[in-house]
């Protein structure tokens, strides 16, 4: 499955990229599993997702919990807690 990943704020700075299109292995089915899989991809991902519990995720532009399924997602975003307003 091909999916667009987006990174914002310090997650973006640590991965070094704002977005990328990746092919997801079939056994990666939740946000938490995706984070685990990304951490294997290199030291920059390892560093970006080191404190995985503080990182928020959105699937197709909707906030989700880490145990949310990602099947059929077109766009998955990772970012720190929001600080607008």
């Amino acid at each position: 499955m091909s999916v667009k990943l987006l990174y914002f704020a310090w997650v973006r700075e640590k991965t070094g990229i704002g977005q990328e299109q990746i092919d997801l292995p079939a056994d990666v089915t939740t946000v938490a599993e995706l984070i685990g899989w990304l951490k294997e991809r290199g030291p920059e991902y390892e560093s970006a997702f080191e404190k995985a519990h503080v990182i928020r995720a959105a699937v197709d532009q909707t906030h989700v919990a880490h145990d949310a399924p990602i099947a059929s997602a077109r766009e998955i975003a990772f970012f720190p807690p929001v600080t607008g307003g």
Binding site: F8, A9, R12, T62, H63, F79, P81, T83, G84, G85
Partner: protein
């Protein structure tokens, strides 16, 4: 109505636009968030707001929709800026209009509380002494909790 934009906004003009020709409004509340020149005691020379284009608009519309469901609003507007901003500049504007003051006040506070905790914006501060990404404030989650759990976005 929601708008996400880099350019500044004119509070007076936005209020006038919302109320023009209307005689059914009794109360108009506005909230304007502005850039302060200090944070945690450290000087801030500039702030930059990053956001998630697409999701930002979706979240603001969702939040505004919830406010309109919960309170009898005659009009509402949320404008949120992104990009670099100097101390003293506007960041965000919320306007709510209703027949009575309580609905207008409550809806404006609700919009700000939700916006602070679910709209995908991230502040980065530049300053002589410190700087960097701003941490989320626990008090914002506390503020949100008073509106009840049922409407909170999944996180």
């Amino acid at each position: 109505m929601i708008r996400v934009q880099q350019r500044d906004f004119d509070i007076g003009a936005e209020i006038e636009g919302l109320r023009a020709g209307r005689t059914d409004i009794g109360a108009i509340v506005t909230f304007t968030g502005t850039v302060r020149d200090s944070a945690m005691g450290a000087r801030v020379s500039q702030m930059t707001l990053e956001h998630y284009p697409g999701m930002t608009e979706k979240e603001l519309e969702r939040i505004e929709g919830q406010a309109c469901e919960r309170w009898p609003l005659q009009a509402s507007l949320v404008i949120h800026r992104y990009g670099p901003m100097q101390p003293g500049e506007n960041i965000v504007l919320v306007i709510t209009a209703s027949a009575h003051r309580q609905a207008a006040f409550e809806a404006a506070e609700f919009l700000m509380d939700y916006l602070k905790t679910s709209a995908p914006f991230w502040k980065k501060e530049d300053g002589a002494e410190t700087g960097g990404w701003v941490d989320a404030r626990e008090s914002d989650d506390t503020a949100l909790a008073r509106w009840g759990p049922e409407k909170k976005a999944a996180e």
